[in-house]
């Protein structure tokens, strides 16, 4: 596609610094020139001293205390774990108030995902953030976190972040940028801001909205455009179709008995998905906890597999265009649409409809953002017919500020830019050059804008092509405010001084108001003082809001909306079964965001790149996902590189056969193939955006695949999946469970030659409920953050050397085309009481402690790897290279409570022993036992579904003991007499008898 190629060339042109290699190289070299260095120093007091020597982790802690400037962004990880010689101790000059060296502090704030807030607690060590935990008081997180938010800490310390203002891709001075903007103001004022445009992603920030409103008063003609590549336009449009006005829909899965998920993302990605996951999981666990009648039933219709689909009791993999037909038919069945829609309805539909209507007002239907507005409108109609509103769904005013259709909005902007009607463009956070639909050729239009300023945390494609790039302060470095899926507001407070200076969007906007040194704190505070006025003690409310991490009762009020009549006529005509082949091909391409990189903005985060994708377990790559049957037909194997041809253009991509994918369509995950990105995200995967068109954002019909004969190695972390229920994963239907509650139990060899050890104090144990687990990988990410687990890179993953301590094993039941069910099993160290690994270690580097933990002493390990061989669960990980040192992250970003492992050392899950020990110390200081729930492992804390429970087995009332009392409780491979401390609760399915044991 010429426009793209041209764009690529232009970016390359900009990148072609003195080194001609990459932006970073050129910047570093620039930075070494004294003159530039001086200039940059003047600009950024925080700029690292490039001569700083390498510093170890613990030393860094003290250095950190001194000041960030001293921290020395030495870009190198810790070396051999031995302490450095001739080391120094560096105290503060004046201790910051409330800071106790060596004691962690938790500070509440929020991090945005697609514009929506997730409440977090930032763990602070020596005045620097070291970790993110969910804020239990926040409605959207309830203490859990998804991998993306957790990676925020890595994002903060990303050494590839934008460090200075860029002019045309070269380091420049902030003053220059300010001057350029300010000089423009008079002209803008003259024509009422005619040429002034603002481009952002989804914005929920009340402050930002207030500022824009103010600006609009000053520059009436200015316009505010929005573009979110994986946005929720379709839902908005759907609600407009149904109700004549945009509304947001909140789901109440805790009240839902029968659920229909139409390629729904309520478990993976929808605003509030963490909350939804918890509510959903609670009802799924009900049966195991003795309340079988409460167990919900989930149907799923989808083309591209979703986590919801994986958890469905009945999952129907259908072609994309069949979905709308099915939904129409369902609407008809439930009297929410004309009878003729019922024609050529799939066989199972009637049963589903009956089941739904049977559980009126506890039924719930939800569709994902990839579905056309019509489907969403119909979903509203169906929910209405089922009496869901007020029961299982509530409608609220859209949380997004001033909601518009992003597509139209962007289209309008590009049109004006191309027509030269735009002279000043401020892009806040967004990266349209990479994410905008290809047919718009945003880059081309951008070239016609005389003054374009881009604000971003990292220099990206847009930054390169704008006249100015301004480094954006990370959300943990700045003041701001955000709203959650339900409207609850969180005021973001900075957790540290900006590492490299950096501006917040609010501050940059203020510049248009003539302020040259705006103060983010003042701006945000102004908003809230204004709102708190008249509600009493404004300052008190402000501080409360900061402390709690939410503005009390700021959630949006339920909205009563009613369906407009005649929906059937207003609906756009359903897509022809197979559109008159536009590209000659008969396949349909589905555009879906990569679960971790989303629209590509997280491409430089090693944790996310290496975190296995659900189902495929792929890392460091995206692949063209295709149903095994279809692949068979086309003669495609995994890792075959195919050329995909369509009217929208062609692209090359490696193939991955995905069980449960609908036939005759392929999924193209976008977010990969970034051009301008840091060291981690460079040259990873293929870019699917070039095929994405404004009118075909989510699916592209008429696609054909041509085998190129080449192959591209894909780094998956699990190589054997399809298997008929390995003994490790146990499951049954609800009825089977009723008949034989103990079906999962396996008899353990009671006799042992050895006298048993006593664990009088605590006996730590873990229970993992397969019934709750939704396979979201939050635990894996949390563990990686908490335990300093290094990222190893694609080459090493190809050798199967990934380091994750807890992995999600994925199993399919049934045949590949339409697996009857997908089973997820988090696997980690079982802390066997008769641990096979310990006996074979020749140096006693791994043994049991008094609480029955299987302890791994890294500094004693010589690396015989016998323990790994002898571990039946294969949960031990080995540092084949000095991964920690090679990891591209700042020393200060490691967790100081955990040793960073050296080369040649074995490591594994420790039940977060550092947390246990800290709790033990706290308890001992007060001469009391550790309370139940006082120790939470990182994985348990992050799990939105409460699948993981950890605690003391000696205490019969502890949560974990109660879990293990469930009849579903079983241990894996107990026939080896390993006596694992971690046990599982079997998965139950609740199929509809009418549809049989599907």
């Amino acid at each position: 596609m010429t426009a793209r190629k041209e764009l690529a060339e232009r970016i390359e042109g900009r990148l072609a610094g003195r080194s001609g290699r990459s932006l970073w190289r050129s910047l570093d070299e620039l930075a070494r020139e004294p003159a530039v260095l001086e200039m940059l120093r003047a600009e950024f007091p925080g700029l690292p001293d490039l001569a700083e020597a390498r510093v170890g982790r613990r030393r860094l802690l003290e250095l950190m205390g001194a000041s960030f400037a001293l921290a020395g962004l030495t870009g190198c990880g810790p070396g051999e774990a031995a302490g450095e010689a001739a080391d120094q101790a560096i105290p503060y000059v004046t201790t910051p108030p409330g800071l106790v060296p060596g004691v962690a502090r938790h500070v509440a704030t929020a991090i945005s995902r697609g514009g929506y807030a997730d409440g977090v607690l930032v763990v602070q060590q020596m005045g620097r953030p070291v970790q993110l935990e969910g804020n239990p008081d926040h409605p959207a997180s309830l203490g859990a976190l998804d991998p993306i938010i957790q990676a925020g800490i890595l994002d903060l310390y990303d050494p590839d972040r934008s460090r200075s203002v860029l002019k045309a891709g070269r380091a420049a001075s902030t003053n220059g940028m300010l001057k350029a903007l300010v000089d423009r103001l008079p002209a803008l004022a003259a024509n009422g801001g005619g040429g002034l445009r603002l481009l952002t992603g989804t914005v929920t920030s009340p402050t930002l909205a207030r500022q824009v409103a103010a600006l609009k008063r000053r520059f009436p003609a200015m316009q505010w455009h929005r573009w979110e590549a994986d946005g929720r336009d379709t839902l908005r449009a759907g609600s407009v179709l149904a109700f004549g006005r945009p509304v947001d829909t909140l789901l109440h899965l805790d009240r839902a008995k029968t659920i229909l998920a139409i390629e729904s993302d309520f478990l993976d990605g929808a605003p509030g998905h963490l909350r939804y996951a918890r509510d959903f999981a609670r009802r799924r666990r009900a049966a195991g906890e003795g309340r079988p009648e409460e167990m919900s039933r989930l149907y799923a219709i989808e083309s591209s597999p979703t986590l919801a689909g994986a958890r469905a009791d009945h999952r129907f993999a259908v072609r994309p265009n069949e979905i709308e037909a099915a939904v129409r038919a369902l609407a008809a069945e439930l009297g929410a649409g004309p009878a003729e829609w019922r024609r050529n309805a799939p066989g199972w539909l009637a049963a589903v409809a009956r089941d739904l209507s049977a559980s009126r007002s506890t039924a719930l239907v939800h569709a994902g953002p990839a579905q056309p507005p019509a489907v969403h409108a119909l979903v509203h109609a169906i929910n209405d017919a089922l009496g869901a509103p007020g029961q299982t769904v509530t409608y609220i005013e859209p949380v997004e500020a001033d909601p518009v259709d992003h597509g139209d909005s962007l289209k309008g902007l590009v049109a004006d830019m191309a027509a030269g009607r735009v002279d000043t463009l401020l892009t806040l956070g967004a990266n349209p050059v990479f994410t905008a639909p290809a047919d718009l050729d945003f880059a081309g239009a951008l070239a016609k804008v005389p003054l374009s300023v881009h604000l971003g945390t990292a220099p990206d494609e847009t930054a390169m092509l704008c006249t100015w790039h301004v480094p954006e302060a990370h959300e943990l470095e700045r003041w701001g405010d955000l709203r959650a899926f339900d409207g609850t507001v969180t005021i973001q407070q900075p957790q540290t001084r900006p590492l490299w200076g950096g501006w917040s969007p609010q501050e940059l906007l203020a510049v248009l108001d003539g302020e040259t040194r705006p103060d983010g704190h003042a701006i945000v505070r102004a908003t809230w003082m204004e709102r708190f006025q008249g509600k009493g003690d404004a300052d008190g409310m402000w501080t409360d809001a900061l402390r709690l991490g939410i503005v009390p009762d700021s959630a949006a009020a339920p909205l009563s909306v009613s369906l407009l009549p005649g929906l059937a006529d207003r609906l756009p005509p359903p897509p022809a079964s197979i559109p008159a082949s536009t590209g000659g091909g008969t396949l349909t391409a589905l555009f879906r965001p990569d679960p971790w990189l989303r629209d590509g903005r997280y491409a430089n985060l090693g944790w996310l790149q290496e975190l296995p994708r659900p189902f495929t377990t792929l890392t460091w790559d995206n692949a063209l996902l295709i149903a095994p049957a279809t692949a068979e037909r086309l003669g495609l194997k995994n890792e075959d590189v195919v050329e995909l041809r369509s009217a929208a253009g062609t692209l090359r991509a490696p193939v991955w056969r995905l069980a449960g994918h609908a036939p005759d369509c392929v999924t193209l995950p976008f977010g990969f193939g970034r051009r301008v990105v840091g060291r981690v995200g460079r040259d990873v995967g293929f870019d699917a955006f070039p095929l994405r068109r404004l009118d075909q954002l989510w699916q592209l019909p008429g696609v054909e695949l041509r085998k190129t004969g080449e192959t591209h190695r894909l780094a998956a972390t699990q190589h054997h999946q399809m298997i008929d229920s390995p003994d490790a994963v146990r499951h049954a239907t609800l009825d089977a469970f009723r008949r034989d509650p103990g079906f999962a139990r396996s008899e353990e060899p009671e006799h042992s030659l050895y006298p048993p050890y006593e664990y009088p104090r605590n006996a730590w144990g873990m229970a993992i409920s397969l019934d709750a687990c939704i396979g979201c990988n939050a635990c894996t990410a949390a563990c990686q953050g908490e335990n300093n687990i290094a990222v190893v890179g694609k080459e090493e993953v190809l050798r199967n050397r990934q380091m994750h301590w807890i992995r999600i094993d994925t199993w399919y039941e049934g045949e590949a085309a339409a697996p009857e069910q997908t089973l997820f099993q988090p696997m980690t160290c079982m802390h066997c009481e008769n641990a096979p690994c310990e006996v074979v270690c020749p140096v006693a580097a791994t043994m049991h402690d008094a609480d029955g933990l299987n302890v791994m002493v890294y500094n004693r390990c010589v690396g015989t790897r016998f323990c790994s061989n002898n571990c039946p669960y294969k949960v031990r990980r080995f540092n084949y290279f000095n991964y920690a040192a090679d990891d591209n992250r700042l020393p200060m970003s490691w967790n100081p409570d955990v040793s960073v492992r050296a080369r040649g050392v074995m490591e594994k899950c420790t039940y977060c022993v550092q947390r246990i020990r800290n709790a033990r110390i706290a308890a001992d200081r007060e001469n009391r036992p550790i309370r139940d729930g006082e120790v939470k492992t990182a994985c348990q804390q992050a799990c939105p579904a409460e699948a993981i429970v950890f605690g003391d087995l000696n205490d019969p009332d502890s949560a974990v003991s109660r879990r293990k009392a469930s009849p579903l409780d079983y241990g894996v491979l107990t026939d080896l007499n390993t006596r694992p401390r971690t046990t599982y609760q079997a998965r139950l399915r609740n199929p509809n008898p009418e549809l049989g044991e599907a």
Binding site: Q718, H719, H720, Q721, I723, P726, A728, E796, R799, N800, R801, Q802, R807, D809, T810, W811, Q825, M827, P836, V839, V840, C841, P842, V843, A844, R860, C861, V862, G863, T864, R865, F866, S868, N869, N870, P872, Y873, K874, R877, F878, N879, Y880, F881, N882, A902, R903, G904, V905, M906, L973, L976
Partner: protein, 456 residues
């Protein structure tokens, strides 16, 4: 018929007629003292040394980068290093068995071959000893396996089969060295006394420690040698049993086998005899030892190899049969994947090379056909390496946890280490050829004397 009776007599002779004590002494010590270093030695040594340099390179890079340069992965955390170790230590057994076991059985054919065999053992053990050390992720801490008082107040974990192994290999190194050296003393004295060049007289004089051959010396010598032989025979069995326990001690399906100790002893014996044959066949010509290393020796060694192969084949049968007999699901998985899966070619190669090829040796003419015999021995040596490779890797790649099943793909560094270790062995052996008498002269003198006494 004439010919066959002749071979019959030939096969009865451990020493060709007309060979005298002085002649043997003169010839053997001449090889070391007077003879100009022959071309074949220079060529052989050059090649071996080249390989040895490769070994240094491979290990050097390993020390710089870490064991990640090998193909080992997860779950297959053990690879070539361990396979090589078992292979080398197995071949080492050959020397000890021949010179210790058959000393106890008073087999007269042992005398001429024992020296070659023991020398082989010494250098094989050296190669074997290095492998477990470089196998470690942090090799520079290998001394933590020694039980010595330290500031950490820590001890090794004596329960670990690996630690048994560590102790065993340690003792075996000491044992084979001492056994070899003690056996050398009288011959070193002979060299000392026959040497003409000053450095030779001093060199061998020092090594001989002042051996006089007095009745007192001989008496103590024979006593000690007897005791050592009586110790080395069980010792060599114990070390291979322990190597077997390295695997049997683990609960990986395919390793957890009660039969492994004898299994590994038989395997060791097989490769041991094979490698002795591979050395003896060329050497008896190259060193003109046909007079004392006769067809009888080759025949005996060949038959020993056949016997060992039969014993091992029996173990193979049991190994394949047991899982199905027990009906233990996971073991069946491993076995079937070995029989038909990714590693099937290796598995069958081991069956053919170690089990079937040696069966040729049932036929006497084939036994006496030196080139063929050499080839058979070569097959066995290769086959035994493959066996260890299959045991180490094949079992791990079908472990208890299906989700972690993966395969092992060796890297160039794996192969370099293997080839290099062969270089290390040959370099040492060639040096020994040059400076050590390759036949036990005093034993032959003894033998010849007895033969005369016995009117042979």
């Amino acid at each position: 018929m004439n010919a066959s009776t002749e071979t019959g007599q030939e096969l009865a002779r451990v020493v060709e007629p007309g060979v005298t004590a002085l002649a043997v002494t003169a010839h053997v010590s001449g090889l070391v003292l007077e003879r100009r270093t022959p071309l074949w030695w220079w060529v052989g040594f050059g090649l071996s040394f080249g390989l040895f340099v490769l070994f240094l390179a491979a290990v050097g890079w390993l020390f710089i980068r870490g064991v990640g340069i090998w193909g080992i992965d997860w779950p297959i955390a053990w690879g070539f290093a361990i396979g090589n170790y078992v292979w080398w230590v197995g071949m080492a057994s050959g020397g000890t068995l021949i010179s210790a076991l058959f000393f106890l059985t008073r087999s007269d054919w042992r005398s001429a071959t024992s020296r070659i065999a023991e020398t082989m053992t010494v250098f094989c053990v050296a190669c074997a000893g290095i492998m477990p050390v470089i196998h470690l992720g942090r090799w520079w801490y290998f001394y933590w396996l020694f039980p010595y008082p330290n500031t950490m107040a820590l001890w090794p974990q004596f329960r670990s089969p690996l630690h048994w192994d560590f102790v065993a290999i340690l003792v075996y190194v000491a044992g084979s060295l001492l056994f070899w050296y003690v056996g050398l003393l009288p011959d070193l004295a002979t060299l000392r006394d026959r040497a003409r060049r000053r450095w030779q007289r001093i060199f061998y004089g020092l090594l001989a420690l002042g051996w006089q051959g007095s009745s007192q010396h001989w008496r103590q010598f024979r006593m000690l040698y007897g005791l050592f032989a009586a110790l080395m025979a069980p010792l060599v069995c114990s070390i291979h049993s322990i190597v077997g326990l390295d695997f049997a001690g683990g609960l990986t399906p395919g390793w957890h086998e009660t039969q492994f100790p004898p299994y590994f002893v038989f395997g060791a014996a097989l490769s041991g005899f094979a490698v002795v044959l591979m050395l003896v066949i060329p050497l008896r010509r190259a060193l003109e030892l046909t007079g004392v290393i006769t067809l009888r020796h080759l025949d005996v060694l060949a038959r020993l190899m056949l016997t060992a192969s039969l014993l091992l084949s029996y173990c193979y049968l049991i190994e394949a049969f047991m899982p199905f007999y027990r009906g233990e699901e996971r073991e069946i998985t491993v076995m079937t994947s070995l029989l038909t899966g990714y590693y099937a070619p290796w598995y069958w190669a081991k069956i053919v090379l170690n089990g079937l090829v040696p069966q040729l040796l049932w036929v006497r003419p084939l036994r006496l056909n030196r080139p063929l015999l050499f080839l058979v021995a070569l097959c066995v040596v290769i086959g035994m390496w493959i066996e260890r490779y299959v045991i180490v890797v094949g079992s791990l790649h079908r472990n208890h946890s299906e989700s972690s099943w993966f395969v092992f793909v060796p890297t160039v560094w794996d192969w370099a280490t293997l080839a290099g270790s062969v270089g290390l062995f040959l370099t040492g052996f060639f040096l020994a050829l040059r400076f050590i008498p390759m036949v036990s002269m005093f034993e032959l003198r003894d033998l010849l004397h007895k033969k005369q006494a016995g009117g042979g």
